[in-house]
Amino acid sequence: MKPAPIQRRSFVWRVIVGAAGLGAARSILAASEIRIVVHGDSPGQRTALQAIQRRFGVVRVSADPKALGSPSSSAVYVATNADALRAALAAESALPLVSLFSSSERYWSTLQEIGKNRWRGQTTAIFAEASPLHQLQLIARIYERRVSVGVLLTEASAHAEPALRQAARETDLELQVERVAPNTDVLQALIRVSTATVLLAIPDRSLYTAANLRDILESTYRRGQPMIGFSTSMVAAGTLAAAYSSVDDTIAHLGEVVDSFQSGRMPEPQYPKYWRVAINESVARSLNVVISDAARGMGNRPRGGLR
């Protein structure tokens, strides 16, 4: 079936890759049809699509889910960002939908906003941010002792608290959670966790905007309080470190999720299985935080020769 005509703000690609050239492709993938729902056209999204094509071979791509073909029992929809997820949910399909590269906060709020019932199929997600457990494992490895970790949460990110507390117990860290009410000055909330050894950022659009992050980083840095971010761009901005999942890590995990569909099992929305660590060496040095090679090398890499 031909894809729908190109819309002004959407595009349709047809990507053909010689599947024989991908010796690493798994046989199960040949049985699944991956349909990619995109939104916008950015270098980052193109990188993701290239990674998907390397992993899965032939894929259909469109900003309009309905343009990706008629329903098929072997098809799986993949939304490549939060806006694509919103568009996909609005399309009211009965097929499985996997959200990629959206934070947990964004995923849950989008589902709530759009109404999960509009998507008659099952949805799941591989969240963009690393799990609280992996973040706290990183902190535990950096500090090598029991330290206090401050976390700011709003209503939108409150869903992460149980996982955080469980992870704190497993890593023997002390958690200081500060609930931030709407329209509260985030710097005032930061003062209430100022005694924590390190601050952990959980993705939350109301807390970590570009403007807020500047104030937060400057304030914590003045205090000599390192901050653990949730993305490499935060690390570049000035957080001490982050556990994160690369594009290839996420795509490798996607393959396993798709395998589950074939087994008749729909995995729950989950944090990335594969992850690695980014360090801002300059910030670490200036805050007198010793980063061991063990901490730098933490993570879980996918097998199969993927980056």
Partner: protein, 705 residues
């Protein structure tokens, strides 16, 4: 003005390290956050600092129940701290001369508290309250290369809290033994990209119960009020403007210093403080900063005294100027001998004048005397921080200072002077493990000409957790206006009864500085070692040092004897250790120790000296729970006239969070080893101050919202 160059210096490593994927445009996770902690904003890592540094944080001050900056400095290895009376703290790194400690600079947010006339720092009168202090960074060792003359032995950099980093409001009240009481209110307000904090405080401290044998009343309390406002405004993404204004007024009680005084020579102080700093990032690797400040220190220092009438005779004044011993002998009723013909003639005239007075000569005449002093300083500095490459960072700048002093007693006229300065420091990353720091500070002052304070240092990282440093530096202290230009005369008024019909008189004693003094100098050598043990949250710093000071102006300068010279020298050698640990589970501990050998050409440079000194403490705190700390501070007190000091503090605190507020209550119980503090006043004269009890108790309640 810059923060401590060492700690404000940028690292020259690349900002971003091991990112391993391209960004995905997926909303908040890979939103293009701007780089906030740019290379020019990075603080220099402690292992890379070309000096030994002690950092005292606000958390430590709270944890240990410390209530003044002076007391906080007992946490610094090698720092000599003696409280001579309520307001009069004699504090100097490695001690030396207790009479007027003046070889250590103190900055509050980059503005020098070093007064232009007397080269002194009035520790009790800083324009900030302790609650506003974010941290105190003490660079132990000559830092003239970064901060110029007067940072000869060390520099204390007090950094206050940014307006954005404080609560909306804070009320604090405290009280304790020895009539200690304090109240502070702080409010914070933000408008757009501007934040303002305003702090008002009042404090009373009764200090010692008894002072010296001649003054059992213990008249040495301080009563101060402060108002401080600090604002920070982001004019653009790259430019900030910080402004600070402060006012301090109060009374420092001063005990009788002469037997003829009938009212206490208390000081009434009024200090004004205005500072502005404009900082702009020309690029992530290039920052420019312009700092301007104006400080006005004023002391009304007045008393009534009733000496013998003969001391106001003009003939005695003229005789004193020629021959002190002749004048003293005549007043003692003795016949002066052995002087010059001029002295003999003046003595005869003085004796004749005394005879004309008859019995009145020995009777009292009461007058109003004063030692008022008003000091002003205006300072300007432009600083440029440039990351020339990932291996080379340069901080350079220039500045000027204008200072004026007015004192009817100490100076014949308004004395003023201008100083001009240039400075540059380069940090070179020769290899990933080897840092070199080279730089210097040049200053020109009219009477002493140019002084140059260079420094060269090597910092080498032996491993990720161990480093060594070798530092060679030279520093100076420029003689102050009092040492160089004093023209000391006591003009008194309100004579009762009048003398020969006059009520405005002149006391017979006077003094004039010979001038021509050269800067004091220091050559400092240091070998240091630093270790960090992440598993224990521990950092340890040790150093060996050998400092040679010469051209020292050691003499006690007073109206009866004002003969400053550059005659003396001191060699200070020793070792220092400081270690702190944050063990986890809320446990923390610290220890510091200093061993010092002082070899001096004059015993005056051994009047503030402890061969062994240190502090140690342990504590535990849990957010929302009870916290406690136990600390000991001690010094062997081996200086001339000095006794040993020891104090144990136990602090207990409890913090609770209620809706919209946090309440913290704390109490500190102190036990002194000695109820008495003694220190050198003059040869054959030691001053002694006492507390009635070894035990002192203080309590404080803070409510923040």
């Amino acid at each position: 003005m810059r923060a401590i160059a060492a700690l404000a210096a940028a690292s020259i490593l690349p900002v971003c390290a091991t990112a391993q994927h391209e960004h995905v445009d997926s909303g908040p996770l890979d939103s293009p956050y701007p780089v906030v902690i740019t290379p020019t904003r990075l603080r220099q890592a402690l292992p890379d600092v070309p000096a030994s540094v002690t950092v005292i944080t606000s958390a430590q001050l709270v944890r240990l129940g410390i209530t003044s900056i002076s007391e906080a400095l007992r946490l610094v290895p090698g720092m000599e701290v003696t409280r001579a009376s309520g307001h009069d703290w004699r504090i100097s790194y490695h001690g030396t001369n207790i009479l007027t400690p003046r070889r250590m600079n103190v900055l509050v947010d980059g503005v020098s508290m070093y007064r232009p006339a007397y080269s002194r720092v009035l520790w009790q009168q800083f324009p900030i309250t302790l609650i506003d202090v974010d941290r105190i960074e003490v660079t132990r060792g000559s830092n003239s290369a970064s901060y110029g003359p007067n940072s000869m032995l060390a520099i204390v950099n007090i950094i206050t809290k940014h307006p954005k980093d404080v609560e909306r409001g804070l009320v604090s009240v405290g009280a304790g033994s020895n009539e200690v009481a304090a109240a502070t209110v702080r409010l914070r307000k933000a408008w757009g990209r501007t934040a303002l904090r305003v702090t008002a405080s009042a404090e009373h401290d009764g200090a010692y119960d008894k002072l010296t044998r001649s003054n059992p009343q213990g008249h040495n309390a301080t009563r101060l009020k402060r108002l401080n406002a600090k604002a920070s405004s982001e004019l653009s993404a790259d430019t900030t403007l910080d402004l600070q204004a402060a006012f301090v007024e109060g009374v420092n009680e001063v005990p009788f210093t002469e037997s003829s005084q009938v009212t206490f020579p208390d000081m009434r102080i009024r200090d004004y403080f205005l500072a502005g700093k404009w900082t702009t990032q020309l690029s992530p690797n290039h920052e420019l900063q312009l700092a301007v400040n104006q400080t006005d220190f004023g002391i009304d220092w007045r008393w009534i005294t009733c000496p013998p009438t003969a001391t106001f005779l003009p003939e005695m004044y003229e005789l004193w100027r020629v021959d002190h011993s002749y004048a003293s002998a005549i007043l003692a009723g003795k016949k002066p001998q052995g002087g010059t013909p001029e002295a003999d003639a003046l003595a005869a005239a003085a004796i004749a004048a005394i005879r004309r007075l008859g019995a009145r000569a020995r009777a009292q005449t009461c007058v109003a005397a004063n030692h008022d002093i008003y000091e002003e300083r205006t300072d300007f500095e432009l600083q440029d921080t440039l990351m020339m490459s990932d291996r080379l960072r340069v901080v350079s700048g220039l500045g000027a200072r204008r200072q004026r002093v007015r004192s009817p007693t100490l100076f014949a006229k308004v004395e003023s002077g201008s100083l001009y300065r240039l400075f540059a420091n380069a940090e070179v990353k020769a290899t990933p493990w080897l840092h070199l720091n080279v730089g210097g500070y040049g200053e020109h002052e009219a009477r002493t000409g140019w002084t140059w304070s260079p420094r060269a240092a090597i910092n080498a990282r032996l491993t990720d957790t161990q480093s060594i440093r070798m530092v060679l530096s030279k520093g100076t202290r420029t003689p102050d206006l009092y040492e160089q230009r004093a023209d000391w005369k006591y003009h008194v008024s309100g004579a009762t009864p009048p003398l020969n019909g006059a009520t405005d008189l002149r006391f017979f004693q006077s003094a004039q500085s010979p001038g021509g003094l050269r800067p004091e100098r220091i050559v400092s050598r240091e070998l240091g070692y630093m270790l960090m043990v992440p598993r224990l949250g521990m950092s340890l710093d040790a150093k060996l040092f050998d400092d040679r000071l010469d051209h020292l102006i050691s003499e006690k300068l007073q109206a009866s004897d004002f003969k400053p010279t550059n005659r003396n020298q001191v060699r200070l050698r020793g070792a220092e250790l400081q270690a702190a640990a944050e063990l986890g589970g809320g446990w923390n501990g610290f220890v510091n120790y200093a061993f010092l050998r002082n070899s001096a050409s004059s015993p005056l440079e051994q009047t503030h000296y402890s061969r062994h000194s240190g502090a140690a403490g342990i504590g535990r705190g849990k957010e929302g729970g009870v916290s406690w700390s136990l600390a000991y501070y001690g010094a062997s007190g081996d200086g001339l006239g000095q006794n040993s000091y020891g104090r144990t503090d136990f602090t207990l605190a409890k913090a609770i969070t209620v809706p919209s507020a946090r309440v913290r209550a704390s109490a500190t119980l102190s036990r002194l080893d000695n109820k008495t503090v003694t220190y050198f006043r003059d040869f054959g004269s030691t001053l002694e101050n006492r507390y009635d009890s070894r035990l002192q108790l203080r309590a404080q309640l803070d409510v923040s919202f």
